[in-house]
């Protein structure tokens, strides 16, 4: 009888072990550093989706419950390299993982900002930035090298423009609404508190949103997850700023369920690497978290980066040669013995977010974020009326304007005087102080004559102030092998765009009229007004003038993701559907377009969708294959939707949604001594739009051009591998081989800004031209040494090729006889080689952790590498060399030295 019972029990137990309903097992272990003497506290143990399974305690001990079966566990701890473990959870008893050794993170990677702020000289002054710093902490060697090493040369992964990646902070999408891309200076200086992030660079879903083709970065700012204690950092550099000091303080999770983390940073310099570039920035951050109970937690995060910085502009090779430096900056001049920069970027945009996490049940979670982002952004510039162009590198002031050699020499010699080679501020003040003027019918009052010093030169601030509400919620449900996620995203954005007089430069007032309209329609007092309801407006410092309009963009998105994972395979399918409304609201009646400038424009409503699918096949834990495919449409950005938003409500003719088709295949290996990835990808963009304005010399007027129907193909190979030669030495090799090609001749319409007359409608002959914005080939190889005595060093060599400039589409349209043969070919920049090195050491003294690292970039002082630039819009068919392109050169040797103290 007993035997029978045992048999039954055995059968029952066996049956149970095969049943679909798994039992929960218990997993535990201890996290330590090498030689077990230091226990790692506060490490987050997460599963593949990023859900936190446990936090390690002060003794390094962690434990959690999980359903039996295969599980991939990630160990994330500040200052340590992420560790991944594949385990088998037993359904009975405890699965004891024992001592797990974590390896110290090379801190130089995470403390370093990787961006070298690059500003384009386009008339609209859009900020363009290099690859972002969060990627440098990725554990994928390709991604971290792309950010840390290649990023110096404006490299973008897969050549994607920044707007094809999303960035979230505490669940709030922080991409700039009007241009679409994330602007990193908006949270500059807050590296310390942005460390905890999940990044993807492709289509693979993260489960928190429907990512665009470039992936997403998600910064987790839960106050309880920061390392308890104080960290102070001081850095010394010669890049865009010279000094940086940061302090971060976190209470860790207190017993009452609250946690507070704060950070304050300051970056400053009187002058950066390029002349005349000052930097003055404060960053602040506060996170407050309350773990209400095991099901609810709320995290409040507020941050702001307040900064002013002087910008370095690019110029032509002729100007660089005249100034004797490839870093000549035409934007500054001497005033009162110091350098005054005319182009200053400033920003003060507080971001306030509140995130709520609700564990509805063991396998269902709802995460929501609501936030408000508001504030001011500005970019100053000189403006002038009825006066000589004050820019020192204006083409008529350069030797190339003259045909006689003696004259050219004379002008070249005069450049030794900084009042010639740079802006002559005193001359601007003198001109203003000398311009006694009477304005008739000032402010629209007949007979009202205002007499005073009318400024001919001023500094204006081009403002873009924002006000954005966002709500974002995601529901995740796990059932069996499926994880189902659904999300709703709503964003309401209003931007305020206007110019403000920043400095009258010694004058008493400026008059708000359009000087180009004045030249073309001198007898029409209405046409010249920028604000027809207040004609001949007298404007003083701080007053709004020139234009004033709101940019509206509202978006609602729903998306869903289904993930199916088995032992060896996981598959996913994601969809999204979005509705975006874009429109302009003018606040002044522009004299040239009295019927088409005030009030709301036509509302562009676009419905876009996306589908992505793919999967992962794990041959073993060491050999993994991934495939992804994506078809989606994106709405155009606000900036490309309007022909000339400063003057009128006209939308860009022929504008469409963008369509993106992408796919990639990867092979990933995780061997004990080699980890690496090889990926082949292909992306096709159709229906892109580009809009720009420039000053046409012959017409002596502003002209808008809009290119629609742009098709591009980006494809290539990504390779990255780390070879652990010994316990201390690692060799990295990374290669990125790409082609970014325009595959169709787009349509271009050129309109005169003054009267919306269409000057030409043509085809742009640029098929098979290359995109600019990133080198197409980048290779690197490096070796790192990580000593058990807490010091480390490394050196990397990288090589770049296939760098192309932003081309001028107008010179590639047909003239009466055909097209301009001189510009048929695109100019390729020369290839270049860079060497970077780092060295660092850390000490532990009385419980205080001190570390000192030095990052030395461009050791060979290569000052010949052109990282970017653009062809001028001005061109002369009779004299093609008259308007050469403007280049940006890679900085020579530069360093970043970091001292951090942790208590």
């Amino acid at each position: 009888m007993v035997r029978y019972k045992i048999l039954i029990t055995f059968i029952f137990a066996s049956l149970l072990s095969f049943s679909a309903i798994s039992q929960e097992g218990n997993v535990r272990g201890i996290l330590t550093e090498k030689d077990n003497s230091i226990r790692v506290e506060g490490a987050r143990v997460t599963d593949q989706s990023g859900n936190t399974l446990a936090l390690s305690g002060s003794d390094g001990l962690f434990s959690f419950s999980h359903s039996a079966g295969e599980l991939t566990v990630y160990f994330n701890a500040d200052s340590y390299q992420r560790f991944i473990l594949h385990i088998q959870v037993r359904e009975e008893g405890v699965t004891d993982l024992g001592m797990i050794t974590l390896v110290r993170q090379d801190e130089f990677r995470t403390d370093l900002p990787t961006l070298t702020i690059a500003d384009s000289d386009a008339e609209d002054g859009m900020e363009s930035q290099t690859i972002h710093g969060l990627l440098s902490s990725s554990s994928d060697i390709f991604v971290s090298t792309a950010a840390y090493t290649f990023g110096q040369t404006r490299f973008q992964i897969r050549g994607y423009e920044p707007r094809y990646s999303d960035v979230f902070i505490n669940g709030f999408r922080v991409n700039d609404a009007e241009s679409g891309g994330p602007i990193w200076s908006n949270w500059g200086g807050l590296n310390d508190v942005m460390r905890n992030s999940v990044v993807t660079t492709g289509m693979d879903p993260d489960g928190s949103s429907f990512e665009p083709v470039g992936g997403m970065s998600r910064v987790i700012t839960n106050a309880s997850e920061y390392r308890k204690g104080i960290k102070a950092v001081y850095s010394l550099s010669n890049r865009t700023y010279r000094n940086r000091a940061m302090i971060t303080w976190s209470t860790g999770l207190l017993d009452n369920g609250w946690a507070f983390t704060g950070s304050y940073s300051r970056r400053w310099s009187q002058e950066g690497y390029a002349e005349g570039t000052f930097y003055d920035a404060h960053g602040m951050f506060l996170a407050v978290e309350k773990i209400v109970n095991e099901n609810h937690s709320i995290n409040f995060t507020a941050l702001n980066a307040i900064y002013s910085r002087g910008v370095a502009g690019g110029s032509t090779q002729e100007a660089y040669d005249l100034a004797g430096s490839n870093y000549y900056n035409p934007y500054w001049g001497y005033q009162n013995g110091g350098k005054r920069n005319s182009r200053v970027r400033s920003s003060n945009k507080p971001l306030i977010t509140l995130a709520h996490t609700w564990k509805i049940s063991g396998n269902t979670t709802l995460k929501s974020t609501a936030g408000y982002w508001f504030g001011k952004g500005g970019y100053s510039a000189l403006n002038w009326y009825d006066s000589e162009d004050p820019r020192p590198d204006y083409w008529r002031k350069l030797p190339s304007y003259y045909t006689d050699e003696a004259d050219q020499e004379r002008i070249a010699d005069s450049w030794s005087d900084p009042s010639v080679s740079q802006i002559n501020w005193e001359a601007l003040y003198t001109a203003n102080k000398n311009n006694l003027f009477s304005v008739e019918d000032a402010n629209g009052i007949p007979g009202n004559t205002v007499t005073g010093l009318r400024s001919r030169y001023i500094v204006e601030d081009r403002r873009n102030d924002i006000s954005q509400f966002q709500f974002n919620t995601t529901l995740t449900h796990q059932t069996g092998n499926f994880t189902l996620t659904g999300g709703l995203f709503a964003d309401l954005y209003t931007g305020q765009n206007f110019n403000v007089v920043d400095d009258l430069l010694g004058g008493d007032f400026w008059v708000d009229i359009d000087q180009f309209a004045e030249r073309d329609y001198p007898d029409d007092p209405d046409a010249i007004q920028n604000d027809l309801n207040h004609p001949n407006r007298i404007v003083k410092e701080g007053d709004i003038y020139s234009h004033n309009y709101s940019s509206h963009q509202n978006q609602v998105k729903v998306w869903g993701l289904a993930e199916y994972s088995l032992n060896r395979t996981s598959l996913y399918l994601g969809v999204n559907l979005a509705n975006t409304s874009i429109w302009r609201e003018g606040h002044t009646v522009k004299g040239l377009f009295p019927d088409n400038s005030y009030g709301n424009s036509d509302i562009l409503t676009l419905t876009t969708y996306g589908v992505k699918a793919g999967g992962e096949f794990r041959l073993t834990g060491r050999h993994i294959f991934k495939a992804n495919a994506l078809v989606m449409t994106e709405p155009p950005t606000f900036r490309s939707s309007f022909l000339s938003p400063r003057t009128r409500n006209s939308t860009t003719p022929g504008i469409t949604e963008e369509q993106i088709i992408a796919g990639d295949l990867s092979y990933i290996t995780r061997l004990p001594f080699i980890t690496g990835r090889l990926t082949g990808y292909y992306t096709r963009f159709t229906g892109l739009t580009e809009v720009a304005s420039f000053y046409h010399d012959e017409l002596r007027n502003f002209v808008n051009h809009s290119m629609t129907g742009i098709n591009k193909e980006h494809y290539g190979l990504e390779y990255g591998a780390e070879f652990k030669i010994s316990s201390t030495i690692t060799i990295n090799t990374v290669a990125s081989l790409n082609q970014f090609i325009w595959t169709k001749n787009p349509e271009i319409i050129i309109t005169q800004d003054n009267n919306s007359e269409i000057l030409s409608s043509d085809e742009v002959w640029v098929k098979y031209f290359r995109s600019s914005g990133s080198p197409q080939t980048a290779l690197s190889a490096g070796v790192e040494y990580s000593s058990p005595n807490y010091w480390w060093a490394g050196i990397t060599g990288s090589w770049y090729d296939n760098i192309y400039l932003d081309f001028n589409p107008v010179s590639r349209t047909r003239d009466e006889n055909g097209y301009y043969p001189y510009w048929e070919v695109m100019e390729k920049m020369p290839s270049g080689f860079l060497v970077d090195a780092f060295i660092g050491k850390s000490w532990l003294i009385n419980g205080v952790n001190i570390s000192l690292t030095a990052n030395l970039s461009n050791l060979t002082n290569n000052k010949k590498l052109i990282t970017g630039g653009f062809e001028q819009y001005r061109f002369s068919p009779e004299n093609p060399d008259q308007f050469p392109p403007k280049y940006y050169y890679m900085y020579g040797f530069n360093y970043f030295i970091n001292l951090s103290i942790r208590m």
């Binding site: 204690g229 104080i230 102070a232 000094n243 000091a245 940061m246 302090i247 303080w249 704060g262 304050y264 940073s265 300051r266 400053w268 310099s269 009187q270 000052f278 930097y279 003055d280 404060h282 002013s308 005033q335 009162n336 013995g337 110091g338 350098k339 005054r340 009326y385 009825d386 006066s387 000589e388 162009d389 003259y402 045909t403 006689d404 003696a406 004259d407 004379r410 501020w425 005193e426 001359a427 003040y429 003198t430 001109a431 102080k433 000398n434 311009n435 006694l436 003027f437 009477s438 007499t451 001919r456 400095d503 430069l505 010694g506 030249r519 001198p522 007898d523 208590m903």
Partner: protein, 452 residues
């Protein structure tokens, strides 16, 4: 670590961090006032170039002004008004006016009273017209030219909205070097008959082109008015009246030219005067003219008569053939699109009946069918100058026509003049033709006698 220690450390560090300072250098600078030197007459400065002007043009070189001099005056020409000037301006004082070449437009407005430092500037000329500008440069033709100078660094504005005081003058008087660069007002001038119907300049070509037009006084003296194709009035038709014309006197080689600085100062709206119009003689009872007292090909000029060019630039000419003298008008070889000339008699008293006889002939008929080169009219209210407003009435007579043999005179028959008590009438013999309708027409033996 307890909370207080935390907070203390954090506060200290934060304040240390916040104290890093970045200077901005945007306070208004102290400006050194322009030391312009001693003020002298514009004439004195221009005189520095006299030696060069004496040389032949290709041997001249620009002269640098090294003296610590300055000039002052009222701005009489600005590139801001009406677009006729570009990167240049005119300044005038009591002694003279001068052309200044600037590096950029703007900041120099009509009515401004300014002082400009001369030292470091250069004197040059273009077509013998003196100008002051900046450092000379060589243009693509290899010629040495004066560049424009930066006015902001050497000019002081004393006052604005000063009225200008143009010098009253006449066409002949302004054609003198002392007037070069001065603002003048001419009275009783009009655009020549030949230029009526044209625009000031050629605004429609690509690029727009400047043009010369002719202004004349009532004595027939002419001067060129040159306007830029970029001016706001370039495409306006020339005004057809006579009146006052204010402009700046310039020069190009041997041609004196007028430059309009403000189109509102061109006020040509009065009645035109007749060029070559001598006064009509006193009224007579009879008259007789056989054209024997003139030389061949001489323009008919009879005391008391008028020989007017109404369209084109030809009038009745004296011709002698076979010892017979007669008046002839022809469009042949004139190149004119329209030719019209009137031979007008002195007034004849018509209180009593008067008879007019004359004879006409034609040669080389080229007029199209329906068009006749000759017409005969009279006027009771023409006084010698009111040509356009006088009433002209047709008179019929027998005259040479297309079918008449060439060179054969035809008697007019007796033409009865109207009888109006106390009035007198002028008779006009009109030729109308052109370079293509170039028929030659002759009149002879004009007699007005008392009717029998």
């Amino acid at each position: 670590m307890n909370t207080i220690r935390y907070i203390t450390i954090v506060t200290i560090l934060a304040s240390l961090i916040a104290s890093g300072c970045v200077k901005r250098f945007d306070a208004e600078p102290e400006l050194t006032p322009i030391d312009y030197g001693t003020i002298v007459d514009i004439n004195q400065v221009k005189a520095l170039y006299n030696d060069e002007l004496a040389k032949i043009w290709y041997n001249r070189t620009p002269v640098e002004i090294t003296e610590e001099w300055a000039i002052t005056g009222i701005v009489t020409g600005s590139d801001k008004t009406d677009g006729n000037l570009y990167k240049e301006g005119y300044l005038e004082d009591a002694s003279a006016g001068v052309l200044l070449k600037f590096a950029a437009t703007g900041g120099f407005y009509l009515g401004d009273s300014v002082i400009i430092k001369m030292k470091g500037l250069w004197l040059g000329d273009y077509g013998d017209f003196v100008q002051i500008g900046g450092t000379p440069y060589t243009d693509d033709g290899g010629n040495l030219r004066i560049s424009g100078f930066n006015k902001d660094e050497r000019m002081v504005k004393v006052s604005i909205d000063n009225p200008s005081h143009p010098t009253p003058a006449t066409i002949n008087v302004v054609k003198n070097s002392s007037f070069q660069g001065r603002l003048v007002t001419l009275e009783n001038v009009q655009f020549t008959q030949g230029d009526l119907g044209k625009t000031y300049a050629d605004a429609l070509s690509d690029p727009p082109a400047a043009a010369n037009r002719y202004l004349e006084d009532c004595d027939g003296n002419k001067i060129i008015v040159r306007s830029s194709g970029y001016s706001t009035f370039a495409d306006d038709l020339l005004p057809e009246g006579m009146g006052s014309f204010t402009a700046i006197v310039t020069r190009f080689n041997t041609d004196y030219q007028l430059l309009i600085r403000d189109i509102d100062e061109v006020q040509l709206d009065g009645e035109r005067c007749m060029i070559g119009a001598q006064p009509l003689g006193d009224p007579v009872e009879t008259l007789s003219e056989d054209f024997e007292s003139f030389a061949n090909n001489e323009e008919i000029l009879i005391d008391g008569w008028q020989n007017l060019m109404i369209k084109g630039n030809r009038s009745w000419q004296n011709k002698i053939f076979n010892s017979d003298g007669y008046a002839q008008a022809t469009g042949y070889n004139s190149g004119l699109t329209e030719m019209e000339t009137w031979l007008i008699t002195p007034p004849v008293i018509v209180s009593a009946a008067k008879t007019l006889t004359f004879r006409t002939a034609k040669a080389y008929w080229e007029h199209e069918s329906g068009n006749h080169p000759f017409a005969l009219v009279y006027s009771l209210d023409y006084n010698g100058s009111n040509f356009h407003s006088a009433t002209w009435t047709s008179l019929s007579a027998t005259v040479a026509v297309e079918s008449t043999s060439d060179h054969t005179f035809v008697n007019s028959g007796n033409v009865a003049l109207p009888i109006v008590t106390g009035e007198d009438a002028v008779i006009a013999f009109i030729y109308r033709g052109s370079g293509t309708e170039s028929t030659s027409y002759r009149i002879d033996n004009i007699n007005i006698t008392t009717a029998k």
